[in-house]
């Protein structure tokens, strides 16, 4: 549905987006991750046609979005960052306006507005003016605007920003539900959101795509992925570490906590064995030495760790 090729945007000498390419198909939810100022919003603004790229190609639903912007824009629902809205309009007035610009008239417009109000739980504030709304409602009003024409493509810039936990949950469910038959791109800072909602993740840093894959694939890139988490009672920590050194496929072990004769440690894989093989070997060793194992499991790998490893500036990495 969306295909972006070698997209570049320069603001003066600064490259905000640098040679970004990706595609999103129907049924996919693509999460844009990245530190602030990485170029997420700029990329979305180019895809939605708000700002023209310096170079590159954008195809939306088969239309060249730069040569033929109107049919491309018709297919997109867009929720800009900070969810703007006309302060002096009522919610229903605003939605009617959006529906009219989307070419909906008469009965069709009425139905579309009603549907959007229901979908975003706006029944209580329909006749309230937008500047009197709480942040959550304001956000949902703008979200309703983006859904009003039931677009095949949704682009959302931080759709859960400023919402309370319940609202975040609702919006995530909404995205997930709609993701079944739409192509969705959304940006976020919240990593758990990515795991909960996305079928694919792109991490952008300083204008470049630095990672592109499913959440599982990215998690597997974590140093922690495949590590063994172990809790043993009644054995000194030094003896444990000594013993673990002999396990084939273990790079090193790290003591996480030590209290009342219970030691908690993590054994990192050296990457030679298959996933889970290290856990089996550690368990075998424990059985052989008759350690009292209270807990043992394989770590999944954590997205925040991967995110930090990829996006931290090199200078900070060197210092750490």
């Amino acid at each position: 549905m969306i295909s972006v090729e070698h997209l570049t945007k320069a603001f003066g000498p600064k490259l905000a987006v640098n040679d970004v390419s990706f595609t999103v198909e129907r049924g996919e939810v693509l999460g844009f991750l990245g530190p602030n100022g990485a170029g997420k919003s700029t990329t979305m603004r180019m895809v939605t046609g708000f700002i023209p790229p310096t170079s590159g190609r954008i195809t939306v639903g088969g239309y060249d979005a730069l040569e033929n912007p109107l049919p491309a824009k018709r297919m997109i629902g867009y929720l800009p960052e900070n969810a703007p809205g006309y302060a002096d309009m009522t919610v229903i007035g605003f939605l009617n306006f959006a529906a009219e610009l989307r070419g909906l008239h008469g009965e069709a417009r009425k139905r579309a507005v009603e549907r959007a109000i229901e979908l975003c739980f706006l029944e209580n504030v329909v006749y309230q003016s937008i500047d009197t709304l709480s942040k959550g409602y304001k956000h949902r009003t703008c979200l309703a605007q983006s859904l009003i024409h039931d677009p095949p493509i949704l682009i959302m810039d931080e759709p859960t920003d400023g919402l309370d936990p319940n609202q975040k949950h609702e919006v995530r469910n909404l995205i997930k539900r709609m993701g079944r038959d739409k192509a969705i791109i959304f940006s976020t800072h919240i990593l758990e959101e990515v795991e909960a909602v996305c079928s694919r993740v792109i991490i952008i840093d300083r204008g470049r795509i630095v990672a592109n894959g499913t959440p599982e694939e990215l998690k597997a890139r974590s140093e922690m992925a495949g590590a063994v988490h172990l809790r043993v009672t009644g054995v000194p920590a030094a003896e444990l570490q000594e013993g673990l050194k002999q396990v084939k496929g273990a790079a090193r072990s790290e003591i996480l906590a030590e209290r009342d004769g219970t030691v908690e440690l993590r054994v990192y894989p050296d990457g030679s064995g298959a996933r889970g093989s290290l856990t089996r070997d550690v368990a075998a060793l424990a059985a052989e030495r008759r350690w009292q194992v209270a807990e043992i499991h394989t770590e999944e790998g954590r997205l925040d760790e991967v995110f930090r490893a990829i996006t931290l500036p090199d200078t900070v990495k060197a210092a750490a």
Binding site: K9, F11, R45, T48, G49, F50, I51, P52, L70, P71, K73, R74, I76, Y78, P80, E81, N82, P84, G85, Y86, A87, D88, M89, G93, F97, A98, E100, L101, R102, G103, H105, S129, C142, Q145
Partner: protein
């Protein structure tokens, strides 16, 4: 057909925006009070002893100088401040439709304000026997004058997210367009400059072109002048918006 639907939707929203906030009412009241004051007190409507609206129309360039930028300053500055510009320009409409829709809405509002001065027409018709053709021409000229200032405010409004700056810049430009052809200024200029040059400068002034309408003369040259200033200012608005988006 589609374009017209979009323009109409934008006009409707923009006009609604005037009337849901106090701006419209404050503006209408002030406009009507000031036109009344200038016509009857400063313009000596009664003392003239003429059945004409000269004392009414003479003041319009000066009144509009401040009042029209007050109407136009929010057009784009507000969109930028609220961030709704991003919403508006990612809708399936062209930038031109948005510019024209906003401009027409404000112009329509100014036309409404002007139409509400109808009691002065009734008064002059009751008191005497004026040439109503001249009055109609005066109204047409006044409306074109308002549209010209408005197009300029539209342009300055696109330049900034600050309405005050937008207001001041458009007042300055409008003031130049008045003074370039204002008799006291042109008289002063002829002392130093070649009369031909003074005439050329005066040709850029709204005063020179508004004057004909007040006398009841609808000259094509004047129509072309107002239309071209409006066209130029709106075109520049489009260029400014495009450049801002390009970053």
């Amino acid at each position: 057909m589609n374009a017209w639907h979009n323009i109409r939707a934008i006009m409707k929203r923009e006009l609604g925006g005037y009337f849901t906030s106090p701006i419209a009412y404050v503006f209408l009241v002030i406009f009507l009070l000031l036109t009344g004051f200038f016509t009857f007190t400063v313009g000596s409507f009664f003392e003239r002893g003429e059945a004409s609206l000269v004392s009414f129309f003479t003041w319009h360039p000066w009144l509009y100088l401040f009042l029209v930028p007050a109407v136009g300053m929010r057009l784009w500055a507000e969109e930028r401040r609220l961030g709704t510009m991003e919403l508006l320009l990612t809708m399936p409409i062209t930038t031109w439709q948005a510019i024209i829709g906003k401009f027409l809405a404000s112009w329509l509002f100014l036309a409404l304000a002007l139409a509400l001065t109808f009691p002065v027409v009734i008064t002059v018709n009751y008191l005497g026997d004026p040439d109503n053709g001249v009055i109609v021409a005066g109204y047409v000229g006044s409306l074109l004058l308002a549209g010209t200032y408005l197009a300029i405010s539209c342009m300055t409004s696109a330049l900034t997210r600050n309405q005050v700056i937008s207001f001041i810049v458009s007042v300055v430009i409008a003031l130049f367009l008045i003074l370039a052809g204002y008799p006291p200024v042109t008289d002063l200029l002829t002392r130093w400059a070649n009369p031909v040059i003074v005439q050329i400068i005066a040709a850029f002034s709204v005063m020179t072109h508004f004057e004909g309408f007040q006398r009841g003369v609808v000259d094509t040259r004047d129509l072309v002048f107002f239309a071209s200033v409006m066209g130029f200012a709106l075109f520049t608005t489009g260029v400014i918006i495009r450049n801002q988006r390009a970053g």
